[in-house]
């Protein structure tokens, strides 16, 4: 999973390593409206469409890695719950100028127990804060890797994924 706030570079990251142009899948969430016991209004439903970008990397003849850019809004947790089950882990992208945008994702992965790494996406090549400063600010434990990245560059995205899988492996072997 590739998570983080709106505009932090999730789709850019997915596109940088994916062998296909990122595709978009939509999930429709339906919930009955307030007047549910009024039979004349049973047709009233509110539907919300959640779009999610994803890419794929064929790693081996019979091994395909999918990268899902998770919809940022908190109310779409159902989509995350769906993804988290088969997931290896998450790259949480962070724009340090808008640090608070990553709080929901960090909270979510800490609670779900899914291994995650924090990747500081340096817009315009700037990394105004060091990983240690961000660790302090986010109150992230010492085991969780914090790296810097440029979501536009394949090599950077690739090494962020390697860091994540190494971290997931360490977590499993513990």
């Amino acid at each position: 999973m590739v998570a983080g706030g709106f505009g932090v570079g999730k789709t850019t990251f997915v596109g940088a390593v994916s062998e296909i142009n990122p595709l978009r899948t939509e999930a429709v969430m339906t919930s009955a409206s307030a007047g549910i016991d009024d039979l004349t209004h049973t047709g009233d439903k509110t539907t919300t469409t959640v779009a999610m970008d994803f890419g794929r990397i064929t790693l081996d003849q019979d091994l395909i890695l999918y990268l899902f850019g998770t919809p940022g809004q908190d109310r779409f947790w159902f989509m995350w719950d769906d993804l988290v089950r088969g997931a290896i882990g998450a790259v949480v992208l962070v724009d340090t100028r808008r640090l608070a945008d990553c709080f929901p994702a960090v909270d979510y992965f800490e609670n779900s127990g899914l291994p995650f790494v924090i990747a500081l996406n340096g817009f315009d090549g700037h990394q105004p804060y060091t990983p240690d400063e961000v660790r302090e600010a986010l109150q992230i434990g010492p085991d969780t890797p914090i790296i810097t990245t440029d979501a536009r560059h394949r090599g950077d995205a690739k090494s962020a994924l390697i860091t994540l899988v190494e971290h997931a492996l360490m977590a499993r072997l513990k």
Binding site: L23, R56, D62, L63, R85, G86, E166
Partner: protein
């Protein structure tokens, strides 16, 4: 994140055999071989892989949406790709793929022996890691 089992190769072999035989030799339809498979108890994982096992000659009897999925999944695709490429909501893609799996028209590959989205095991993580390093 899903490794299809090696049986993927046998699909390729069946597929080729069909075109080589020019129809003069009756082939066992793949759906007959997997026949009577019930609808998956689990919800299909979004990353579950789908590959067509149906005899192309049989496709014409299917609903158009089922046909489109069978055509698309001649090369293995995830449920997410079925949804995106055929422009149908994820939930619809899941139901249609499950229908096809029940009818033995497609094979589903997902890790965890059919349990949707089992946590990837160490062997799988190691394979992913070495695959990423070789990119």
């Amino acid at each position: 994140m899903t490794p299809p089992p090696a049986s993927h190769d046998s699909y390729g072999a069946l597929h080729d055999a069909h075109y080589d035989s020019e129809g003069d030799q009756p082939l066992v339809r793949p759906y007959a071989m997997t026949g009577g498979r019930t609808r998956p108890r689990y919800q299909l994982a979004i990353e579950a892989l789908v590959s067509t096992t149906a005899d192309p000659a049989h496709l014409a009897t299917l609903l158009p949406e089922h046909q489109r999925i069978c055509h698309l999944c001649r090369e293995v695709k995830s449920v997410a790709e079925v949804s995106a490429l055929l422009q149908m909501p994820l939930g619809v893609a899941r139901i249609l793929v499950a229908d096809l799996a029940e009818a033995g028209m497609v094979a589903i590959h997902q890790p965890g022996n059919g349990e949707a989205g089992g946590t990837p095991d160490v062997t799988l993580l190691e394979r992913v890691l070495s695959g990423l390093r070789k990119l």
